[in-house]
Symmetry: C2
Subunit: 215 residues, 2 copies
């Protein structure tokens, strides 16, 4: 099997999911593909570019399965869930996607879809962009939280995070809420969290939907 950009990117993705981004090196990838390190550079200009390709590939896996006749609320929900679905499939690659600027056309596809849905719902261009940005913010942050790293109590996906048992002792005087709500805070139900936030945003947007939908 000849070396190719595709094969290298695939190897990188596998390695990220298996051992984490920090474990990825050009030398390890070469070893995985049984070739010399420098052979990689015939297909990929640099490690940074390779990681860009990883992000690109992962993003391109987004699949929208919106019912054609559905209202804009369901469409928006479906788009948000599609975005999130890739994070569940490639949890560790998601960190790469999220922490790296995407100037590629692939990254614009979801944005185009969201804007189209919102405009069809009757929103003006300016509002559509603002609403889309609020959604992107929420989705991005939720994935970040979910994928394991966040300024929150809960920790990552159980299979990855080893720090679960580590319970830092808290002064109930200083943290009355956090201590009294331990049960709710340690419960892990990312689906519920995501859907709740999605509901909040959709309801808020529904409240500002124009009276006369366009088209």
């Amino acid at each position: 099997m000849p070396l190719s950009r595709e094969r290298i990117v695939t190897a990188a993705i596998d390695m990220i999911e298996r051992h984490g981004v920090e474990a990825v090196s050009m030398r390890r990838i070469a070893a995985e593909l049984s070739c010399g390190v420098m052979s990689l550079y015939n297909h990929v200009p640099s490690k940074a570019a390779l990681l860009d390709d990883v992000a690109e590939r992962v993003m391109s896996g987004i699949e929208f399965t919106a019912a054609p006749g559905a209202g804009w609320e369901d469409q928006v929900r479906a788009q948000a869930r599609a975005f999130r679905a890739i994070a569940r499939r490639y949890p560790r690659c998601t960190m790469v996607v999220v922490s790296r600027p995407t100037n590629s056309v692939t990254g614009l596809r979801p944005i185009e879809n969201a804007l189209a849905t919102l405009r069809e719902a009757g929103f003006g261009g300016g509002d559509a962009v603002l609403i889309m940005r609020a959604f992107v913010g929420f989705i991005l942050g939720s994935l970040l939280r979910e994928v394991g790293v966040s300024p929150a109590l809960g920790d990552a996906h159980p299979s990855y995070s080893a720090q679960a048992p580590q319970r830092l002792h808290l002064d109930p005087e200083e943290f009355p809420q956090v201590t009294s709500l331990t049960a709710e805070l340690t419960r892990r139900d990312p689906d519920a969290d995501f859907e709740f936030g999605l509901d909040l945003l959709v309801h808020a947007i529904a409240a500002m939907v124009p009276a006369t939908p366009a088209s």
Copy 2:
């Protein structure tokens, strides 16, 4: 001036803001502090721990300036803005904060505050946690977008991002919305974006506030 953990963390933060995280190395920090590399290890166990300290220090800079008599809406807004303020002060460190799990007590402070505000507004524990998480998601994602990296058209803070001129050509047939809304999409007004999303969430939450506030 003797070496100390504080001085090392400060040097690391300065270096991150000036040259980016990827430029930070123990050897560079040692050079900056005019000491041998290994001297650092008398005060900091590892580079990873140092970056944890960086995140901790940055987070601890959050200052809440909520008017004591203000309603919960204003309190929540103030907390979100306080969080965001540090991202504007330490844009590049924010990536470190956001992409690294915080199991420290410092990271729980904002959560405690948010929960207290929401409970005082009359929400039950479970709802308060869900609402708080939605807010954290939105804030995290917004900071990520703002700090420069995101699946969006706009790019980072102008002083950092050099890729601004790079305009990727888009097919108007394939991306009608993105091409027709170029003006709105390239406009950079992070304040407006953030406030808009904040409004959405606050309104949605106000719509579900219980009839009888607690206490």
